[in-house]
Symmetry: C2
Subunit: 760 residues, 2 copies
């Protein structure tokens, strides 16, 4: 028998039935009285001066209620990380897809027609698309005031890398390239905005960071924070992309101008050219080892694509610079990261957040080192892997750590030893590990943690308020389970409310794999507070002291004589009557034992808990076509404790499929003018069910001391090791290492031919 | 200088600008995705058997999504006070307008057309419309199981009435009739209902009793309470009518049947014939006095119209039986009230709730007694009026009491003494007093009081949740002022949220003039709780103990050195960060010192505070047409303390206008088949601005010990004395006393002619 009633058990997502039956009201389904529809006019050039915009014809089209250009916006420079945004283009467009003007009309067809009536005169300017090219002295400047197109530089150093590399038995050196990929969430970005008479704005949007976005947008609009309310309805995926984006602000400005609510949902084209795809990176690595396979120093230089304005690329490049440094026992590390403006779509977060790029590189490098040293790649990881209760080179306090178990269980399940020995022609097996965080203290100076509110009214229903954001990954279900477990009630009386900045706690949002641990602890503390209040009433009804009272399966009873009981609903009703109608409101919060890293050294414990993982891929390469098929996949992830094992498995399967797409299929391809040539799902192909093998998840549960019921996060570590596991398997199958993602059949075939030619 | 910053000051309603500019989203403005429109088929007969209903043609009309009859409903007998309701007619219709079937369609026109396609075969039955007739042994029975059509009998007795009347110097005896009037709120009743996949229902409706209604409706639908959520958007008036009504349940059943949201808003016709108008009453009174004008005994018999099913008529008749007994020092009282089924629309609450009917009678009787004794009517009231800190004959503990001041100030302002002496031809002046409650303990056995929640998030905005219902009377504004005063912040940072049974406290609702006192105390306590939490943080920031800290005008400061200060917003932000995102949530409640009346004697203190009033009307009667014009009006009301003087004046002006309409103009008139002949505002005429004189309110503020900042209620006492004040003025002008409302020009002219004939 499990020690839990609800937690650590598999349940379908509490909102799953609604989604499966089409009942869910996504942002795109919302309607308001007098609502208009918005559309954005985007730049057809990667870089051009706007000489003139004529909106007169568009404005006079019947049914058009507002046409806006830069002059209609507050004309404030802003941005979540760097003040290089304007709501619409301020005299110059900087990427193909840049927002030039927008229209609100009574229906979408009229809005579309109005876009055609806006006449813009451009003077094309020289453009640059590659970050390495963009750093060159003669490169065109994306922003005139940004020398060398440098958006940000990040440096970190610990120990004496030069010395350690010098003293190494072997130093692996190479350059890798991770490409730009699109998050491919099923619901495009968009928003519904409504402005009241006092100017207060309500913004409905599927965002991962309702509270943080609100701060950025208030600045962009030149209003105080209290004048903007953000509500997060159900939304169709995010994977990191759904943070700040001009589409939301354009919607707001249209609603302000029209004096009516406006809904603006990206078409798929808009979303491809105006979204926030993954940061492409050039990564140079030097990695030293001793003769017996102990890692010594690591030296890294990263050049990442910022795109035409700064979303979160600099922090992503920084993360790539040092996050995997706490996966192994490095003697010394050094990294320098340059985030570089280019005339391309602004890049930003995508599951893995830089760690996935660097893990691809590091785990590829380790694979080559294992070969060089003739040591089993799994053994190499076990030898170097950081352990339980160790402090990493950057001061990260690793507490629970299932890395070793992940490697042991994955290799066992994948039959690793046998398969590595008996190599088959053009079939291979590869392994990669990863670490990650469960929240990142480095993200905000003033704040870390999570909070919750649990309300129990007269009817005994339990409503949970939280401050993060469920983008479909199942946060609501996990929170419902945590609260149900703590209160001792069945899951079906729990409702988890959508995030509404007017009602919910302030939460950092859903990123950095922080939801379950931070938000989960927040709602757990709130449930504890509510439980105490109810227990006092129940104790009164049962004529016993409050600490004599327990609740299980919706019944309060005496620990000493469980037959003396009263139902949870009766207690809730009595509590309400005793308090003249006041519901039981439990408020709770969790402050993690994290440290703000030292600004210079970046030393400090940035997360309360660290998840680990080890994935093993098997591939088959078709020598005639270059086609790579992933035939088998084992994914062992340390998640502390699975609140909902089925949901964790779903996260792992999704992560692996997404990583598979990135590794083998997906790429945002530009023509020589910087125009995206595949802005749709016909040309930008993501894995379908036929491309994905059966993924075998292994849940490693070392029970984390900080996690709610021991849980750590899973969102990102589900993807981090996939690219290296697959490429290592390809190398194992072919002896070919392609260092530029994606490894398409075309690329593979070319390499196979080169190999064939060499053999000849 | 006032002792207050916000309270006791006049502010426009906080939602006034929205309403004035049409921005408010009333229930009728709401839209949901896939929403259908509902319409109700109503009985064309007052009493008939339903032999057959054919819905086949209606169902097959394109665009019709659901057609329902009784068989589609849960077929449960229910009702707020007596289980004599079904959701649609169960084989028999009992009044003209009774609900027979309903339709949901993609637009209102199709729904309307579908109604025409429903074929119902009826067999007409004998009907009865008058309650006195209905009690007769041979009267047709509205419900077969209700002998003599008796819905309820109420009896109350204190002291020896027979003896006291026998010993009186003079006993005034008469029969009065108060007619049936319609509440004439500007937004008709209606609802929007949505059902989720688990069967949980969300009902948006303008209701005065969201929480109480929910209990009745859960029973009607055969579901548990937690399966029904009620949300109260802004709505266009109630005046007592907007409580339980079949239109809401029909909307729900349509939504269940169609599997889509349904909005059903009454047409004005529907609302007239299917609403819940005022209980018409026959009232027989015997009232004794001593020679020097002291009231002795009062003996009353009331027969009230219940209509075809029981809403709240029995409690209204009971209220008429005894509420004004706590206005004067009665030696003895006795009352019997019969509430009688008739084949007419079900009657229910309307501002005054029985007290208005009885106050009309009592104050008319006192006028006649004053004349008989040749004592000034004002003096008669002062002589008998109950005083401060007295206990009334039914055990009501009168604490604050401004009755005497009301009489003195009203008579002074109206120039009463002079005008009574110098009578002009066909001009007269009349006076009437009233008492009332601020909440009524007799309404629910298990519960009395009010509760609130005050939330302050990171941005420093203050959100207030309450459990009553603002039907336009200004509760939200009053609560905002109370909370702003207590917190020490400006009014414009306060938002008062709509009532939502999933979020708000459980509240009894808006009736019995309970909102300001009960709800106001609830939110005041919640503000206190929130203030304590914030003060602790502010004290920390100002490095002082919490009780050294005060807040005024949005600034926390030290009492000892006010220049040391920190803004309310800064404190809210710091509190949020300190608590890892948890907002400050203040929860508070107020349990009044009321007593559940003795079930037999009804003795017990039913309210924490009792408002009083004295109104003086002046009229002019046109001897040629009978037209009565109210030329001047002084209304002195004891409201404890006015939270918002302008809003109180508005309440008084509205109450007087409504009373004027009832007294002189309004009447729901039936033809001999029981069909309402004036179901629209062309034929049912309510006072317009030309009919109403300048009303001069006088606010008497004795500061109640229980009220929030001393406030008592005003809603109902604003209307209670109007009918008698005007009729007493008419008597003063003409010597004619018409005892049946309304006193139309036609009736008056007839009486004038009779008088003229007598003189001849």
């Amino acid at each position: 028998m499990s020690e839990f009633d609800i937690v650590n058990k598999s349940y379908p997502q509490i909102d799953g039935l609604n989604k499966a039956t089409g009942k869910t009201e996504f942002v795109s389904d919302l309607v308001l009285p007098n609502m208009l529809y918005g559309r954005v006019l985007r730049s057809p050039y990667a870089h051009a001066r706007i000489d003139h915009i004529d909106i007169s014809k568009a404005k006079s089209l019947r049914g058009v209620k507002a046409v806006i250009t830069y002059d209609d916006t507050p004309r404030i420079k802003f941005g979540p990380r760097s003040e290089d945004w304007t709501i619409l283009a301020d005299g110059k467009v900087r990427f193909y897809g840049d927002e030039v003007a927008a229209v609100a009309a009574v229906d979408e067809d009229i809005a579309e027609e109005a876009l055609d009536l806006i006449k813009v005169e451009y003077t094309e300017l020289p453009a640059v698309f590659d970050p390495v090219e963009a750093m060159k002295p003669d490169a065109p400047l994306v922003h005139e005031n940004k020398e060398n197109n440098l958006a940000a530089e990040f440096k970190i150093e610990a120990g004496d890398v030069d010395q350690d590399l010098k003293n190494s038995y072997f130093v692996y050196k190479d350059r890798f390239y991770t490409n730009q990929v699109y998050q491919a969430y099923l619901e495009p970005m968009g928003a519904l905005a409504s402005v009241d008479l006092s100017g207060r704005i309500t913004l409905w949007t599927g965002t991962q960071i309702p509270n943080m976005m609100r701060i950025t947008y208030a600045k962009a609009l030149g209003i105080s924070l209290d004048k903007l309310r953000v509500i997060v309805p159900d939304y169709g995926g995010g994977f990191g992309a759904k943070m700040e984006n001009n589409v939301h602000l354009i919607t707001i400005v249209l609603a302000q101008k029209a004096g009516q609510p406006v809904k603006l949902i990206n078409t798929r084209f808009d979303d491809f050219v105006g979204g926030n795809p993954r940061v492409a990176m050039y990564i140079d690595i030097k990695l030293g080892v001793t003769k017996d396979g102990f890692i010594t120093g690591k030296d890294v230089h990263i050049v990442g694509t910022n795109g035409a304005r700064t979303v979160y690329a600099p922090v992503i490049v920084a993360t790539a610079c040092y996050r995997p440094d706490s996966l192994y026992r490095f003697k010394s590390v050094r990294a320098i990261g340059h985030t570089v403006y280019t005339n391309t779509v602004p890049t930003s977060c995508f599951r893995g957040f830089g760690n996935s790029q660097m893990t691809f590189v590091l785990e590829s490098a380790l694979d080559m080192i294992a070969e060089e040293l003739n040591i089993d790649p799994a053994e190499l990881r076990l030898k170097n892997g950081i352990g339980e209760n160790e402090v990493s080179i950057h001061g990260w306090k690793i507490t629970s750590n299932g890395l070793k178990d992940c490697v042991l269980l994955a290799t066992k399940k994948a039959n690793w030893n046998q398969k590595r020995k008996k190599r088959k022609f053009f079939r291979g097996i590869g392994l990669a590990c990863c670490n990650h965080v469960s929240g990142n203290r480095a993200f905000a100076r003033e704040f870390d943690g999570g909070a919750g509110i649990v309300r129990i009214g007269r009817d005994g229903n339990v409503t949970v308020y939280y401050g993060e954001s469920d983008m479909g990954q199942g946060q609501k279900t996990v929170f419902a389970q945590i609260v149900a477990e703590r209160l001792g009630v069945p899951l079906d009386i729990i409702t988890v409310e959508q995030v509404d900045t007017d009602i919910s706690p302030f939460g950092m949002g859903s990123f950095a794999t922080r939801g379950t641990l931070m938000g989960g602890n927040g709602v757990l503390k709130a449930a504890e507070d509510a439980f105490k209040q109810l227990a006092a009433v129940a104790a009164d009804m049962l004529q016993a002291p409050p600490d004599e009272v327990e609740c299980k399966k919706g019944k309060f009873f005496l620990k000493s004589s469980p037959q003396k009981s009263v139902s949870f609903k009766e207690v809730a009703e009595m509590a309400t009557f005793k308090r003249a109608g006041a519901p039981v409101v439990g408020v709770g919060f969790y402050k993690p034992p994290t440290e703000l890293p030292d600004p210079k050294t970046k030393y400090g414990n940035i997360s309360p808990a660290y998840p680990f993982g080890c994935h093993i891929a098997e591939v088959e390469v078709d020598p005639d076509t270059g086609q790579i098929t992933v035939t088998d996949y084992v994914a062992a992830n340390d998640i502390g404790r699975a609140i909902n094992p089925m949901a964790v498995e779903g996260q792992i399967q999704g992560g692996v499929a997404q990583g598979l797409g990135w590794t083998l299929m997906e790429n945002m391809a530009l023509d020589d003018k910087g125009k995206l040539i595949n802005p749709d799902f016909l040309d930008y192909v993501i894995p379908c069910v036929m491309d994905v093998p059966e993924i075998k998840p292994i849940l490693v549960e070392p029970v984390d001391p900080e996690g709610p019921y021991g849980a750590k996060g899973i969102g990102e570590p589900a993807l981090n090791p996939v690219m290296a596991a697959i490429t290592n398997a390809i190398y194992n199958a072919t002896g070919i290492r392609i260092k530029e993602l994606p490894i398409t059949a075309e690329k593979m075939l070319k390499k196979l031919k080169e190999m064939k030619n060499k053999i000849k």
